[in-house]
Structures are given as structure tokens and as C-alpha cells.
């Protein structure tokens, strides 16, 4: 007996965001099933971060609709979407700089935990998961780039989300740090959290993602497994320029 196909956890359809005359996101549709680790890739300026902002309530889309677990959350303020179970990290890290790592993560834990002591204890457990256990009492402003990326991840994770949007948590890390983070992200997916990540580090995308969407100039141009997408001629052209796919073909 086949179970009916589950409704997607995140269902964004025909989302458009314009800044003045510039269409940053143009009619993009993306449906992510629960339990899947999806990746959103594309050249710089393709509109990936803006798409995240529209989905998570930081930017109001001009048109289109965002369903989260069947609920229409289009136009909800960001904090309400976060309370509904969708957490995000920021590409440009946004720590509470004057506070310690423990206090930073505890703010996330407080979403479901009113007691201070319990939130601080939860913060310690989350810190251990992302490899920040040694730095709990450091100020966020004293962390390295890699540390701040982990902190972004930890704070979002502490809200116990059902959907986690990761905006380039691997950017700016050296290869060794990337290699350390990949199992952390896989562990999050394996613990039952659905993940959608924006990523430039292709090694990580190939390693982690079940499904990949490609955004170029605001439009979704491809969708499939990592292997399918990297073979797609339109994707190659989006990254390397017009005619690149044909030239590569001839060279091969």
C-alpha cells in the first residue's frame, strides 16, 4: 500500500520580489518535502538571499504565496514565522556581539523555554552539537569567522525548528573547517530537521544535498539531484557564461 505523497513542508509558489525596477526574485517556485536536505545554488546576485528573506518574512514578496506546513505565511512578520517553526541564519553573521556565546544561543532556546536556567542548559547542549562547547563563555565578538558561523547555526537550532534555512554557513571557512561542518549539518538533517541551504561550496552541496534548485538572475532555471543539476547545460551557462556549455562539450 502506498502512502499518499506528503504535502511539502515548505511550498513557495511564484514568489516575486522587486527592489525598484530590479526584479531580485522573479516568479520562483520551490517545494521542499519534510526530512529533505535541499540546496539553493546560483551565481552571485542571483537572488538566493532575497528568496530566503521572502520565505522567512524579512521581505514582503510583491506576488506569490508561501505555505509552511500547509499554512499560508505570506506577509507574516519574521518573528511570527520563526515561532511557527522556521529558523534562519544570516549570510552576514548577526551575533548579539556584547553577549557571550552561551547567552546568544539561549535567546534562541527561550523561544520554547521560559525558564532562564533551562534555556542556558539547552544552549550548552546545542553548543556541543555544533562544536562550540569550548567557547561558551567567550563574547560573540571575540569569535573567529568559523566560530561566528557556528554560532549562527547554534542560535537557529536552539529554537528547535522544523525547517532550517542556512544562508552560506560554509562561506569564508577554510577546507578543514568545511570538512568539520559537513557532518554537523548532516547530523541536523538526520535528527529530523528539514534543511534548505544556500551554498557556494560545491563540495558540500554534492556531499549533503538530496535535491538542488538553481537560481539565476532571479529565476529558477533547474531542479534535480546534485548530479543532474551539474550536468544541466543551462546551469553551466549561468555560471560560466553564454556558450560555455557548448565549448565544454567540444573540449570533452
Amino acid at each position: 500500500m502506498n502512502a499518499p505523497p506528503a504535502a511539502p513542508l515548505l511550498d513557495a509558489s511564484q514568489v516575486s520580489v522587486a527592489f525598484g525596477g530590479l526584479k531580485a526574485v522573479d516568479d520562483a517556485s520551490l517545494a521542499l518535502r519534510a526530512g529533505v536536505l535541499g540546496a539553493l545554488i546560483g551565481p552571485n546576485g542571483a537572488g538566493k538571499t532575497t528568496f530566503f528573506a521572502a520565505v522567512s518574512g524579512f521581505v514582503r514578496p510583491q506576488s506569490g504565496r508561501v505555505l509552511f506546513d500547509g499554512t499560508d505565511v505570506t506577509g507574516w512578520p519574521a518573528e511570527r514565522i520563526a515561532r511557527a517553526g522556521m529558523a534562519r541564519t544570516f549570510q552576514i553573521v548577526q551575533p548579539f556581539a556584547a553577549q557571550t556565546v552561551r547567552e546568544n544561543i539561549a535567546v534562541g532556546a527561550h523561544l520554547h523555554e521560559p525558564r532562564r536556567a533551562a534555556a542556558l542548559a539547552a544552549a550548552e547542549r546545542v553548543a556541543a552539537r555544533v562544536g562550540l562547547a569550548q567557547q561558551l563563555d567567550k563574547r560573540a565578538s571575540d569569535l573567529t569567522v568559523a566560530g561566528r558561523k557556528r554560532l549562527e547555526l547554534a542560535r537557529a537550532l536552539a529554537t528547535r525548528p522544523r525547517l532550517l534555512l542556512l544562508d552560506e554557513v560554509l562561506a569564508g571557512l577554510n577546507p578543514q573547517e568545511v570538512a568539520q561542518m559537513i557532518p554537523v549539518i548532516r547530523g541536523i538533517r538526520d535528527s529530523g530537521v528539514t534543511v534548505l541551504m544556500i551554498e557556494h561550496v560545491m563540495q558540500a552541496v554534492m556531499n549533503l544535498a538530496d535535491e538542488v534548485w538553481v537560481l539565476a538572475q532571479g529565476r529558477l532555471i533547474a531542479h534535480g539531484t546534485p548530479a543532474e543539476v551539474t550536468r544541466d547545460a543551462r546551469v553551466v551557462e549561468a555560471y560560466l557564461g553564454h556558450g560555455a556549455a557548448a565549448r565544454l562539450q567540444r573540449a570533452a
Partner: protein, 318 residues
Amino acid sequence: MRADLLSIAAFALAVAAVPLLTASGVVLTFLMMTLYAALLAAAWNVLGGYGGQFSFGHALFFGTGAYVQAIAQLQGGLNPWLALVLACASAGAVGVFVGALSFRYGLKGSYFALVTLAFAEVFRIVALSVPFTGAGVGLMLPLAPGAANFQFADRAGFVWTMLGFVVAALLVTSWLRHSRFGAQLQAVRDNEDAARAVGVSPLRVKLGAIALSSVPTGAAGAFYLQVFQYIDPAIAYGPAVSVEALVAAIVGGLGTLWGPVLGAALLHALAEATRNLFGSLPGLNMVIYGSVLVLVVMFAPRGVFGAGESLRDAWRRR
């Protein structure tokens, strides 16, 4: 939390003992006015220090507290202690109203400061022109000494009452440092977008903070009226109170438990010392406040308390 409560208890006991040890009017008046400034500063610190919203118009809440305290007694015939409840509630209501207007539309930084300043001025002009505030003449409270009337024959009663208010404000501050609401408030202060991303509503926590800040400021206004038995629009809504509250908090140390008390004590000691040296030149205390504020912002941006912490850390690391 425990350390906070112990230090507050020690402070309360030490200050409460002073009127038992001396009957000197000079000492007790100095103590009373320092406690009064500490209450203003501690109240301002809740919104400015922990919430990061700098108000230039706390006179708005102070004046509202003072006028409601006066009018409730003079026209409503209320007992002063009951009037105090009404005064605090009115100050809180004005705070939430101004906060809702400003924060709803995302006013921050200098814009918020200007809006609070403008509101205080509007209230001052209204108080100058309507009859029930006594207009420019002001309101006078008849002398009726007795603890039941919130009027004390000697300074000791006022010192103890004021100490109670200050301790309450310190307890609120301590709660902010060890509670979910406080953590969310400081998160919004440090990074509003990051706070929203973890489900914190900036509007809700800022409204909570302005309520927690305006209520004790209203109490300070009511206290002022009970001590001096007179209020007029310039005292109630003029800029002096707003400046005193923010300078003491910034000089002492923003977002610290003891900063406002320390700042109030330092400024009052300084004002007292210069008064003895130069006689009572009008406005001299304002010149001093301004100079001290400039020096602190330049050389100790975290205030005297923050500078002390930095020194202690440097000593430990040595």
C-alpha cells in the same frame, strides 16, 4: 541572581541604617536626593541601558506622575498612597502610548530621542495652558505631616520610602538580567533582525521595557511632589529631569545593575562639592553634568562601572 540579591540586600541595610546613626539634615537631604536621582537613573537604565532606546524625554513620565499625584489629592480627595498607585499607572500608560506610537513605526536612535523630547514639550505646554494643572502658577500641596499622608516630619521617613522605591527598581533590573524577557530585550538592543529570526517581537519587548521604565519614573515624580509640595510645568516637564536621569545612568554605566546608583551618587557629590566651592550659581550643576558626560563618553564609554570592570579584568589577566 543570588549575587545580585545579596548586594541589593546589603545596600538596603546600609542605607537604611544611616538615618538611625545621624539626624543631620544636610546628610539626610543629600542621601534622599541621591536616592531620588538613583531611582530616575535606574528607571532610565531599563529602557536606555537594557533596551538600547535612548529617551530624552523621561520628564514626560516624571511630570505625569507628579501631576496625577497632585490632582488626585487636590481634586479627587484621594489618600496620597492611593494617589501614588494612580500616578504610577498614569505614567506607565503615557509610556506605553508614546512607545506604541514610536516603536510601531520603527523609530530608533535619535528619532526616538527626538519624539520623546517633543512629547515632553507638548505636555509642558499643555500643562501651562489648561486649568486643572494650575497652569503657570502650578499646584501646591497643603501641609499635612504624617506617614499616612506620605508626608514625613523629618527626612528619615522620606529616605526610607525612597530607598524602598530604589530597591524595587534594582530588583526589576536584576530580574531583567536573569529572565527570558530581559534576554529578549537585550537581544533586540544588540541586533533587532537576529532577535526577530529567533521569534522575538521587537515591538512587544520594547513596550514592556518602556512600561517598566516609565512606572518608576512616575513614582519619582510623585515622590518629588510629596517632598517639595509644589509642582509647576517647568519642573514637571522641563528638560532638567530628563537630563539628570540619562546622565546619571550613562556616567554610572549603561546596562549594569549598580551603574545608575553609582552615577547618581557621583554626580550629586560633585554638585554638592562645587556648590560649596563656588556658591550656588544657578545652572552650575548642569554645566558640571554636561562636562562629566562628555568626559565619560570620551574616556569611559561603558561608564564608571564599566571602566571598573575593565580594570579588574586587566588586573586578572596581568
